[in-house]
Symmetry: D3
Subunit: 324 residues, 6 copies
């Protein structure tokens, strides 16, 4: 199932050839890449985290990795706007899903941290398919164990910086608070972008800013040119280790209906993706795409397809940076 | 189920606390506000009008109030763009639904007029959840009984100014014609905005203009800055009593698929909402959101959620004006 | 919104009159009964438990109470097969939802136990709308606190007698094991009926039987006449306190698609309801209908409507017994 | 678009040949029969009545004729169980839809009566596709104008014998009361079969019986052999003119979800169709299939397909009787 | 079913009057125009090609003509932005569907070519409703048989210029390659606009350009003013015979989810339609709208409605040009 | 991903342990069995054939293998009614999908024949997931190449014995005619059961009988006890090589809506499965489950889940026979 490879420079792993079997055939892996457990020879491991105990409204992201895999079957190797052969540059595998414990966020966060750290220690970049946003705390722990406190670039409708939800410490609105408290996330090197929708009070975003985060609302983000966004990101990160988290709800619900806490008036896909593409120079140590909830998708699975394309954009900036 | 209230300035009624029960719990009322029949202590009464006998194509708005209530569970008190604590400023109740008579538009219009007038006489602002657009005739009768002939600001894909439909006087394309004839609506103090789609002839909008209405097509509206729109509205209204009616079909069908006579190429939500927010200085005597048809919504109820957010924007401009 | 009541024998609470407003109007309560918090004057309190952290496959029962309420709007007072005026005999209220803590089953079970016990101490019969089946442990604790160890009549595709799930004690496959261990459930006075589908091994049902439960598979149940079922139930219960739990997945997925772990070849609705009606002489201290997962329902909400009718059948046998 | 016809006995009109174009091609007419307005040469005219102002809960039957036409594309000429070549025996056309006036039941009933009478006067049997059940009053008026007071065989979950609904005389629960009062329907020669579900009181079916109707509940019907049903029908009709009305809600909601007031525990399709086939000797003057509400159907349009098959069964008994 | 016509200048055929029957009534034809087989008196024949053997991912366009007809019922005669009475200018009929052979693309292409040529020879402009894009090869053969090698203006997410797909010559990604090779399409007089999404390599679009096509990506198209687009089209066509093909997947999947190979970040409807309207001066010999796959549409059929409106825009530019 | 195995008698391959990861996690393979390409050590290979060019009405079975895999995640090892540990007895793998050529049935049939023959030559039983029913011709070729002319036991609503469809030899209504003509199928050792629905004439089933097939309609099948069915099957097969094909449309559309040519009044699942289980003594050389069309499934994927359970029943009779 790997690409035929005559030359040493060809990646070891990549999508099954669409010249041999239709794109709708075979077991569904991300972008039809091989499903392997031994990561040797891989540059990027796409890995699912099917966990949604942390959702506060609509559940379902436990089926997110499956949905995104299904939505990724049409992805092809070459990315015209960045002029990069993504799968010709990166060796990409589908590493399956990390172990999780439904109903136990604390234990799951440890399982995620260990799983992500193991991928990183193998010299492989993890691209995580969520799962609700609770999981980013586990991811940040895993990255920080290898790289130290992380800078975070977040595209999301919500700041996720509460300290608890109904007395429960770990839920999809709280990961960043805990990450900062635990020292695995450096808010002063982080940027939260895309916030919108009604809040409990002005303190909501104020608290995030008081913690040290830079916050850009959707309105502010929409008024920012991608190049300016890239400059702002570079300034915030200051060259330190960085993680990019893409919450699908940063997009408008018409484009991404299948998510748990949708907010109206979101970004259009080409707006959001322009911001991602602008970060082609940032050496992120990992990525995620979270909060896709397939039970709420429509018949054509537009959310899952869009999420798969966002994941592909993340691969594309990684490939482009390496090829440059 | 009312907010705890220690200080005299706290509104008497507002959403159930999301700190006590998850947002998906309990009987569905608008924004989780208390369902009361005695309006004493309320500033705004959200009230449904589950009537759809007037629909000319797809029926279903009789389930509109129920759908919008379901779509409103995620609304929170604070509105960042207007910097206003909506439910901290306004005492808002869900007054249930007005009585209607399915199959009898004439009788229903009287039931609506009486219901709306009663709310107004209690010193409360009615925010009506439709129902098809026929109902605005009943609303205007109720408002005019208290305030005299009304000015109308309409956001809608259709001008609704026919005189009859298949010989029937009362249907969702005719309320404004009757309202003018009955003297409850002053076309010269009204603005119809958002018209688009194919028509029976150039006379369709011409007739509306001949009656005295100002008409803006979607293309014209899209080319108008919100501040200019606000100026135009102020000029039209001339300080007289005013009503704001929001037909969900002014939005593009991708964002609001669940409506009876969708027209392609509509406004994007953030475009439409910018026009609403621009009217923060207008003392409307009432509002409605109409033509939401839940049987045609998608799995994530994007139309209902969007309509609930439009209703919230109407509350926000009311709150902001009062707080200013 | 309560029924007019001229005679002392009329129940205090019941459905809103369908002669005053269409059945699709108003805030959705169970069967259009009044939503009250003070239970004085009520015979039965319908109460939701919107909890689904315990689901092992498809989530969504947190929206079960809302779905069942929506599906109950067509229920009318008179039950022809049992010849009983259900709402003319019983005073029924919708008590809203019990407090739950998403993500924390242990805490939620205590919240349920306290809520159910409070209803029972008020002399009112609780009819719980789930929620996943984990919640029955909380219910049984509440009942046992008042009545001592309970006998259970269960209609369900699964026996729910595991001791843990992924190391987590409380999940929707484990409540009965814990209930027996805690002494709130007497397996020797219980009957588990409707089991079917593939299992991990013959020990699955064997374990349940070894604990003392009587177990009837769907095939055995289908071969049992309702009168024989009633006789078997009476023998098992032996006159002691009894609880009736109806898991919607005992029905075939064509009739009840919206559930988390469907099993093919289930009962037809008229088969299952005949078993419920046969229990008209049993003085149950409470009831539940669980595992309805609205995100997986179809456009006509057949599962929610069927679950609402099952709840109505439970009310009917309670009414019939009292009237006899 | 008519069948090639070599022999004089071939019907003039029938389905387009499936050997010339795939069944999914072309403009949708009932069973791919020609759409004509001149009825000369036709034995049966299939005609839609897209009216749903009379619905009391879920609207949508205005799209019933369109849905049933779409669901009829797979129908083929030969009916194995009755061993009859339906379209080889009967000349069948699709006569389009009768004129209706949305929102005005009284006027629509007259339009239906005139339309049906015209078909009958042309010597053609009308097979009406509803529309909500209100329309049967118009149909009975049309038939009675030609044949005198009619006997009615009704398969339906509801008896439809109320006198008014919210003060409105004409709605889908009232046609039979008015038909009797107007003298176009003879209750003593009628049979209402399939009633089930909760009622307002024992008087509901009692009133129907007091008017002279024979009433069979679903439970009674299920316990009746088709041959016994046929005998009972023959006795009731006593050889007088007869109409057969099939309300799709006589079927269980799992098989016919797309209807306005579904009741659980209905007939299975093969049970209901066996009753229809048993009436192969009755010379009905007309037929209808009503209450199909496509907005509530599922993706595979099971209700519409089933309704189309019921219509085909009605054609089959007509063909069989003529061929005998 | 044709329009009453008092004056010689009235078109012979047009939509059924919406004053006589509701828009949801009757057999579904395109825009409620008469379904005729004799094209005399027609200016434009709308004709379906229900073929989808050429789809490479999601099938379903065989139901495209049916879906677009259903989505066209709300179209009215007057087009405000172009100020043209479309159906008052053009005589439009629905000519049904061309014969096709499912599973045999080669034979179907000949059937299409013959069908289109026959329409053209009758002096009528064909407006084809697809069907997958394979069919454009048949259309181009038909046009070239009458007019010689055609210029093509394509709005599409994909260039469709492969030579084969899994060794099969005719599939929806290959029609343009074959059309050029067969000499029925002149790439030097053609423009392919709207390309986007991942590709197999930079050669994909390069090959198209090497063949002589001008190619505009979605990003380039979005940056082009409609008037500039019109100028570019005029330059490319150079006054020769021209065909306009509109693949619905040029639009963003949120607006057109029902298509076989959706690509994210597409045009918004008002963007795409502005390009169509800009071509009001081009005398196209024919048009198509392809790749609508109804099984993947949502409940409100937004894709089908949008496709019907695109077809209406094509009629509008044809009408406007003739009226000028 | 294989089961831990301490004893030599444990199968080499089987489902991933549900004690290590939730059933909704990981890449979707049939019943969570390992996806392998080397069949050594396997008893049964589940393999998809994603082909639907042969469908005559609704397409979509190309997504059948993917849908059935998704619907199989809840399958557990032990089968109570047959008292057999299915995955403890059989070593089962998911071999992915066979190569197919969309749009070219002739070539695909050869690909299937080769693929199936290779599995058989490896000493492994193929269980094929379709795909439309055209594919059974390829399967029979593969089996006959190893075992000689096959006996066929078919459960299906249609006899599939036409010789051509629109002149095309290979489509889903023709495989059995070709299989007989090619000598790979012996009609005299075959039984076609479950036929129902309208036909083109009495010759349809007559032709099948004339070819030598025994045919049982759904009505006849429903009147046959499973043990009698088993006896009839044994008589027909006469001990020769046998294949079992299960077309999902033998089931009623309420249970299996997602299929291309549904026929009303089909078998209930427990009826159909009883016939399968009755064949526990027949040494079939292979099996298939065909005609599942996921685009037409409902939100809870009832068809896909049911098809997965049918496949499990096929495994169960194979396991039981081997264990006996």
């Amino acid at each position: 199932m790997t690409n035929a490879s005559d030359t040493p420079s060809e990646p070891q792993y990549g999508p099954a050839s669409a010249a041999l079997a239709p794109r709708y055939s075979g077991v569904r892996t991300f972008a039809r890449c091989p499903h392997v457990s031994d990561l040797a020879g891989a540059d990027v491991a796409v890995v699912g985290v099917p966990f949604d105990t942390g959702t506060s409204y609509r559940p379902g992201p436990r089926f997110g990795p499956d949905g995104i895999r299904a939505g990724s079957q049409l992805l092809r190797p070459y990315h015209p706007p960045l002029d990069i052969d993504v799968f010709g540059t990166l060796s990409v595998v589908d590493a399956g899903d990390l172990a999780v414990t439904s109903g136990n966020a604390a234990r799951t966060l440890e399982q995620i941290a260990q799983g992500v750290e193991a991928i990183l220690r193998a010299g492989v970049v993890p691209l995580v398919l969520g799962g609700d946003h609770t999981i980013v705390l586990g991811e940040l722990r895993g990255h920080a164990a290898v790289h130290g406190p992380m800078g975070l670039i977040l595209l999301d409708a919500h700041a996720d910086t509460w300290d608890a939800y109904f007395g429960e410490p770990y839920a999809h609105g709280t990961p960043l608070w805990h990450a900062v408290k635990e020292g695995v996330l450096d808010p002063h090197r982080s940027l939260l972008a895309g916030m919108r929708g009604s809040l409990y009070g002005p303190h909501n975003l104020g608290d995030a800013r008081a913690m040290g985060f830079e916050v850009l609302t959707t309105e502010e983000l929409r008024a920012t040119a991608p190049a300016d966004f890239a400059r702002l990101v570079a300034e915030r990160l200051g060259g330190g280790p960085a993680f990019l988290s893409f919450d699908i709800d940063v997009l408008d619900p018409a484009f991404a209906p299948a998510t748990g806490t949708p907010e109206v008036c979101g970004l259009l896909p080409h707006e959001a993706i322009a911001f991602v593409r602008s970060l082609v120079d940032v050496p992120f140590t990992g990525f995620d795409v979270v909060e896709v909830s397939p039970p709420y998708d429509n018949a054509s699975q537009t959310t899952a397809m869009l999420a798969a394309n966002v994941a592909y954009e993340l691969l594309a900036i990684e490939a482009k940076r390496r090829a440059s």
